[in-house]
Structures are given as C-alpha cells and as structure tokens.
Amino acid sequence: MTKVRRQPVAISIPDRRDAALTLGPALLVFAFGFLSPLINLAIESLKEFTPGRVGSVENAAATVQNYYELANQAFASVLLTTFWIGGVAAIIGQLVAFPLAYFIVRRISPRMRTLTLGFLITLVLSSVLIKTYAIELTFGSVGIFRPFLLTLGLFPNSREYINIVVIAGLVHSIIPVATLTLIGAMQSIDPRLLDAAQSLGAPGWKAHLSITLPLSFPALVSSTLVSLTFAISAFVIPMVLGRGRVLFMSNVIYTRFSDIANYPSGAAISLVMLAVALAVVAVITFAQARRVSR
C-alpha cells in the first residue's frame, strides 16, 4: 500500500490576513488570560518565601529551593495518587461512554436522541458540588447504601473505599462529557460498513472490534485526554469525597496559595503539575499520531 504524503500548501497573503483576523482574538485572550499569569507564576516560583508573610516579600531573593523541596517521596506520592485515580476514572468513563454513545446514535429514535442529548448537556452544566454531595449522601460513610456496603464487607472508613468513592465521583462527571465527545465520531461512521460485515458472517462483537472501534479510535483518544485532564485537575471532588484523606495536586496547590500563603511553593507545584500533565498529553497524542501515520 502506497503512503499518501501531504504536500505543503502555499498560503496566500489574503489567507494570512484572514488567519490573523480569525485567530487574533483568541490569541489575544490566550496571551492576556493564560500566558501572562503563567509568566507571573514562573517568576513567583523562583522567589524565596519568608515564613509568616503573605506570599513573597518585595525584593525577595531568587531561589530554586521551591522546586528542590518537591523532590521527595511525599510529593511523588501525591502526584501518583492524582494520576492513578484520575487515570482509572478516565478509563472507566470511556468504557461506559463508548457503548452509551453508540446506543444513542444507532439504537434510539431521533426524538429520544434529542431528549438524551439534552439530558447529557444538563448533566455537564449542572453543579459539580451538587453531584458530588449527592454521591456523598448515597455512598458516603453515612449514606443510604451504608448497610449494603457493610454486608459486602466494605468498611466505609477504609482508604480503599474512599478511593473508590472519589473515582465514582470523577466518573460521574466524566461520562456525560465523554459521551458527547464520542457521539460526533459515532455519527460519522457509515452504518452500512457494520451491516456489510455482519451480512458476510462476522459476529456482532467482531464487527464492532474491527470497524466501530478502529474508526472511532481518534475520538476515543481525544475523549480520554479530555477526561484525564478533567480528572487530574479536579478539586472539589477529591476534597469532598476524599474526606481530607485523599490529596490531589490541586488540593495541595490550594493549601499552599490560600491557607498558608506560600505563593512561591504553590507556583512551583502548579508549574510542575502543568509540565507533567502536558507531558502525559503529549505522549498520548504523539503515540496516536504515529499510529495514524503507519
């Protein structure tokens, strides 16, 4: 099979002007709303903190101590907790959202599809706090399922159980976002391909594995990335459902900035978190791009 190589396309001056006009507002917002605070954060992270003060003092000495002190097992442990709980939630979210998106696109009437889409959008827009407390009241240590959990041998105060509840909270928020992301991809798959495979004798599961899954794979990767990014940056869900015992990076960053007013340390942690998150996203995106180019 011959590879189709993309040829560079010359962009004319009017095209460039159009590009500048269309991208300009977004770039401007990005520069002021994201880049400049990020630069401030980077500068703050290199300042020395005086205990007892609020943030760094004027003319504080430059230091890399705020980064150096992150090189310990406790910080690695918080980072690991954030990524493994967030990763598990993102994967479970896809396992639920993928068949759900297929069902919505292929198995229900247009009227029901509209209603279902409306319901999913409502779930996305509804308050995370309300959803989180709903889970707490249902599965928390005094939730209505407590007797049921005890009969299953699950001690509601155990760390394992708390981890499960945090994952449940994240999955609850991920499913509607992931489903909406995947619905577009499902709609673009020609249903006749599946019909043809099955009419030629392929069992349903095999037809899905060889047609639906590969064709929606790029969307699945995008949905996983969106879900993972949401999960690892979650703040309220681990704070409420984790009962103060599950620490995510966002909780540590909040503590540094808001409660002990150590801005330089909070800034250093924020930047390390950003770098790690970008690295993970880059690796997944790169792997996906390589897979497509093969």
Binding site: G52, R53, Q73, A74, G140, D259, I260
Partner: protein, 358 residues
C-alpha cells in the same frame, strides 16, 4: 435596528454610556463614603449576630462577605489587590491578625476613636512591635477536644484514649490548615513538648494517623459539623462555633475544664483595613458592636464569650469562663507568632509524614 447605526450615532451612544458609567462610579464612591461598609465575617451564627447588631444602628449599611475556609484564606485575596482593598473590616483572630500586622495592612486604632475598648482586657489586645493597637477584640472562643456523648464508642478521658482501637474511624481531625495546627500543639503538650518543641506532637500524630481512628480530616468548619452531626465521627478537636453547632441538637462533652486536655483560647475581633474611605464609619460601628449590650447580644447569638467586662456571659458559655486557677490549669496560650512562622513547615510536614498514613 442595527443597520440604522451610523458612526456618529455609535460615537454618541458610546459617549453616553461612558458618562453613565462614570456617574455610576461617582455614585458608588459617594455611597462608599456615606457609611456603606463591606465587612468580612464568619458564616452561620456569627454573621447572624453581626446582622442583628447592624440592624440596631442606622449609621452604616453593610455588604457582608463571608470567610471561605480558614481565617488565612482571606489573606491572598487582600494581597492580590493591595493597596486597593475592598473590605472595610475583616473579622479574624490572632492567626490572621498577626499576618496582617506583618503586612502593615491594618489601621492603628486610637483608643479615643473606640471608647468601649476601655472595657476590654488590656492583655488580649493585639499590638504591633511599636505598641500600637492593631485590632479590636470582641469575644473569646475556644479550640478544644470534645466528643458527641451519644455516639462515642468509648468515654474519652485522656489524649491517649484517642489511640484506642474502639475509636476506629470515629475521630474527626482538623486539616493541616485549620486552627493553625494547634491540635498538634495539643498533642505536643500532652507528650511533654510545646509549640517550639513539636517533635513529641508529631510522634503522637503519626501514631494517631497509623491507628486508623481518623475517619475524616475536616478541611472546613462545615466538614466538622456535618461529620459530627451525621454520626460519621464522634470525637474531635475544633473551634467553639463548630462544637456549638453540633451541641444544638446532640449531647456534647467539652474537655475545656479537664486537666488531661488543654484548651486554646482565641480572640475574635475586628481588623480595620487601611486605604478605605470609610475608616471613621467603620470605627464607629466597631465601637458600637463592642458596647456592653451589643457584646452581650453577640455572645448570645454567635456563641462566643463576650470580652466587654460589662457584657453578660450566657449560661451556655460557662465552659469558656475560667477563674484564675482554672485558667492556669486548663488553658494554654501559645506564642502565636511562633505558631504563625511555623505554619509553612508544619503544613509540609503534614503532607510528607501524616497524609500518606491516613
């Protein structure tokens, strides 16, 4: 309509909008200068008490802003906009006031501007290094160990009982940014240390974390109240308003007059911020709020013992009223500056040594 818009009309509209905006700004400034105060208060019964006090006077009207999280959480918000701060006064305690004094955010209080300050015990007033008064105390609250008597699996008699296997998951422990970590100072005191010798406290804290007895780490006062009232946990260390909220509906034993525990007293008061146009109106209100009648009202509604010597202490706050002998036996007053300067190190120590064990 939009296609009728000419450049001249557009410029005219823009000018009109600009004038209207400026006039609104002037009006707002005028309102700000005429006794419209923005106050940062605690939620629940405390702000309710302050609203009742505000309703008893006509000189000032209020925009109430509530603290979110610990008292220190307001500091970054002020720092972010300083010197253009939006708050006329901030309710706080030693923890947050000492930080504000270091940042030089607080007005110096002239006793002549707040005559009722004469009835407040001199030794509790916060001053800067030059002896200037920097905050006006209004009440005394406590941070102490206690238990919900009807649900506690055992009768807790000493701090060592917190390690009992019978208390599995039954303790609600304040998060590392609550109460300035005086809960660990309490452990240190029990084990022979103090706020300047915390190793015994950290050792005991490690044992407590390993025991599995901490069912919830409360990162807000509501966390604490919810945990105790729902029956999730039964034993804890928290500030007076948290215990008062639980005690409204359930029997609570407070270890404030028990030689096996130490209670920490804190002053709740007003920090008047610099660079505001309403300083006089703010000080007038502060003076009114600590008058005997209003201080009695505050104590009754907010559940903190009044500091004005002429105010009435309600019966339900007797556990916070100490004779001299009781004070020396049961109350510990830490060096708050030493505590403040170690918050950063203690918070990191919590993350490194304690959090992984929970």
């Amino acid at each position: 309509m939009l296609h009728d818009m000419t450049r001249r009309r557009f410029l005219g509209s823009a000018a009109a909008a600009g004038i209207a905006g400026t006039m609104t700004g002037f009006a707002r400034s005028a309102a700000a200068g005429s006794g419209n105060l923005t106050a940062v208060e605690w939620g629940g019964d405390v702000v309710e008490a302050m609203k009742q006090i505000a309703a008893d006077q006509n000189a000032a009207t209020f925009n109430w802003v509530l603290h979110q999280g610990g008292a220190g959480a307001i500091l970054p918000k002020i720092k972010a906009v300083w010197p253009n701060v939006d708050y006329d006064y901030v309710a706080g305690w030693e923890g947050s006031f000492n930080s504000m004094v270091k940042e030089d955010w607080l007005e110096t209080i002239n006793p002549a501007d707040v005559p009722n300050l004469a009835n407040i015990p001199e030794k509790i007033i916060i001053r800067d290094g030059k002896g200037n008064i920097k905050a006006v105390p209004r009440a005394v609250g406590g941070m102490y160990f206690g238990a919900r008597t009807d649900t506690a699996p055992i009768a807790v008699k000493t701090i060592d009982d917190l390690l009992s296997p019978d208390l599995k998951g039954a303790i609600c422990w304040p998060g590392p940014t609550q109460s300035m970590m005086l809960q660990i100072v309490a452990l240190a005191l029990h084990a022979g240390g103090s706020e300047t010798n915390m190793e015994p406290g950290w050792k005991l804290m490690t044992e407590l974390a390993k025991s599995g007895n901490i069912g919830r780490v409360a990162v807000t006062d509501i966390d604490f109240t919810n945990s105790l009232t729902s029956g999730e946990t039964s034993v804890g260390f928290f500030a007076e308003p948290g215990w008062a909220a639980v005690a409204k509906n359930f029997p609570v034993t407070r270890f404030t007059k028990d030689s096996n525990f130490k209670a920490f007293l804190y002053q709740s008061g007003f920090g008047v911020l610099k660079n505001r146009p309403n300083t006089k109106a703010t000080l007038d209100f502060v003076n009114f709020a600590i008058s005997p009648d209003m201080n009695s009202l505050y104590a009754k509604v907010a559940g903190e013992a009044p500091l004005n010597s002429k105010a009435v202490t309600p019966d339900n706050l007797k556990h916070l009223s100490f004779t001299s002998d009781e004070f020396s036996s049961f109350v510990y007053v830490p060096d708050y500056n030493a505590v403040l300067e170690q918050q950063d190190a203690w918070s990191k120590r919590w993350e490194q040594d304690i959090a992984p064990l929970l």
